[in-house]
Amino acid sequence: MQEIDENVQIFISESVELLDDIENGLLELENASGDDELLNLIFRAAHTIKGSAGLFGFDHIIEFTHVVENTLDDMRNGILPVSSELITVLMRSKDQIAALVEALPEEEGINPEEEKELMDLLMAFRTGNKTESPETQAGTENDAVEAADAVETDSAESDADVPAADESDTIQSDHYHISLRLGLDTFREGFIPNALFKQLAGVGEIKSAILVDESLPLINELDPESCYLGWEIALDSNATKDEIHEIFEFVEGAQCNILPPSSKISEYRHLIEHIPEDEYLALGQILLQTGTLTEEELQVVLNQQQSTQEKVGDLLVENKMVQSEVVEHALEKQQKQKKNQQKALNFVKVDSSKLDKLVNLVGELVINGAKMEQLSDKYNDDVLHETMESTISTLEELRETALALRMIPIGATFNRFHRVVRDISQELNKDIRLEIYGAESELDKTVIDKISDPLMHLVRNSLDHGIEMPDERESIGKPRQGIIKLDAHHEAGMIVIEITDDGSGMDPDKLVEKAIEKGVISSGQKLKREEIFNLIFEPGFSMAKQVSNISGRGVGMDVVRRNIEALRGTIIISSELGIGTTITIQLPLTLSIIDGFHIKVDNEDFIIPLDMIKECITLSDAQIEESSMHDYITLRGEVLPLIQLRSYYSLSNDDGEIESHLKHRENIVVVQFGQQKVGLIVGDLLGEIQAVIKPLGRIFKGLNGFAGFTILGSGHIALVIDVPGLVKDVVSNEKTQFDKIKQGHIDTSRRLLH
């Protein structure tokens, strides 16, 4: 039973990947409806899911996927045209297959009404485009699908001999077709074109040679010393393509495309089948190996591709160098090679909890290594020191490698938004395109998991409130199609994610008006531009005129900011009215390691996240005097609020008293998160430290002001300060006290009045 469950898990895992391929393929297909390669890819994914389900006897999945597969088969055979409505139904069908797979081993009763509706819709699409009755389809389809996909199975083909050319191979002529265009300088270089015909006659029989006059100027425009000649030649020959190509090798400036005889399609197919699948080859390489293509032809096409950006396969067919059937066989081989490469354990799937444990253990090793290094300093032994240094270096490398195991590209998260943008655009009758940059940027899986929801919210906001309706966009001179860009890149050891839209932007005046209306700020309060945009993070704040099921309730942005700050990240908004909005999120690459600054407050060790520190200052006597009277100092003309960490954390001295006054030789660490700057009064500044951060136990869950703890090399525990949490807590407490005082004044005033 254990073994069966594990195999089902593998089926589920592989099906999820294939379903992602289907979804991504359908999204691409919407913009490239003539892309046969895409259609084949989507079809093969569905076919594989069906086939694998068959191994386990998951009949329900087989039945439904079969209907989807037939629809895809009609599409790739050109019977059923690609349309937006059909793609929507196929997307829903993909979701239904996903639901069925997810429910395994249960099979029945999963969205039965949705499933029936989808099967009816798919049948309606298919019967609307076929002349034969639905009843006869079921019988003939299976055979057609199986025959067309014989290459997909691993079962042995009878390939001891080259198969004879079958009926379909002789649709075209059975000669080599040579398209020859001579270069302009052919005459000047003394070349005699007639000689080519003599050489061709030496390797076969020229059945016809039709002169092509497309480039030949009329008599008054002709440069008689330049050559404009070309022919379309049919050559009956047993020579290989390379041998024929050699004839034209020394004709400078000539373009020569040689299409092999149709009877060779079977031979090429056979040769392609025999190419090993353990290595991924480019399409051109596959065709070179089978002799379907010459090096020169490949180079011509690659040069063309640089300017046209067309696919190599399309160019080969357009230039009449290779038959389309041969290109298709080669592409199928390529797909198999790609799949095998992926299966060939370049990737290993590992339970993320095992990775967490590994990172944790490595972190412990590093800490113990640091302890050992400190101990070894007590001994004056060069060999010992050298060995310790080497050990520490290896341990740090081990830690970096372990952390890197958890790093995954953000692309998979970004790619999910294609579907979201598509579906919501349709729902809102808007035309919106999603562009993704930096999909290969990597960060810790935990961070990716936790950033998905906030990103989703931000994208939905752009879709709903940012991008205007197409007519409105056109009336103001914008393209009808709006753009949302997702960009990820590394910057100074952090990852920066930007969500940009070219929509209506935010009106600062209206934001202020709304904030005053909701009591978030008082009338007359002066705010900087960034502070105005940050108002949308206030709870309950929404500029939406209407609440939709997409956004607008005002319960999202404050949660978004909180989630990002919980990841030790920051979020900043910038916007231009009428032009668009950019939201910039900055996150650490990993939550497991922190670059921190080690400080001491009395006898206690603390770590402050380095990315939050602006500067460290030693107070002057004047500043000490100032701070003793107020809870702030003036730093370069700006007011800097102070937080006495000793008091905040209730650290008592040896006499059990908590000293609140500033002592000499205490320091200020100026920290900033968002727009808020605060000075933390600390004792000793002990320098930068890279620490493995560990979460506090559940018993400390309600404790504010701490993000975790780490173990120092000395073996002491240092608490990691949660700067945003600490500042918010202090501000909140002060506001409460201020409100109390204010109310106290009011009460007193009232008593006096009465």
Binding site: N194, A209, D213, L216, L218, I219, P224, L229
Partner: protein, 97 residues
């Protein structure tokens, strides 16, 4: 009746003389909408550059709904034209009804 536009070419018609031949043809064939006759009786040697000149004349005549006629073609010259598969273009056959 329009004056017959005609030229008689001399013996050498290769790349070395093709510019000169081109000029002469243009001088003689002033009205492209009227037929043009090239008398090849004296031609002894040709190459592909000259053939191209003839092909251009043929194309010009076709485009202007007129006619190019090559007359008195020596056998060796005709063989040359056939070996390069030019004759179908220069002397297209009309289908019988």
């Amino acid at each position: 009746m329009a004056k017959q536009q005609k030229i008689k070419l001399d013996a050498e018609c290769t790349i070395y003389e093709v510019l000169e031949k081109h000029h002469k043809i243009i001088e003689q064939w002033k009205d492209l909408s009227e037929p043009f006759i090239i008398d090849m009786s004296a031609v002894e040697e040709i190459d592909n550059s000259f053939v191209q000149l003839l092909l251009s004349c043929k194309k010009t005549a076709t485009m202007n709904d007129s006619n190019l006629e090559l007359i008195n073609i020596p056998e060796t010259i005709m063989t040359y034209l056939q070996s390069g598969f030019y004759s179908d273009y220069l002397f297209p056959t009309t289908e019988d009804n």
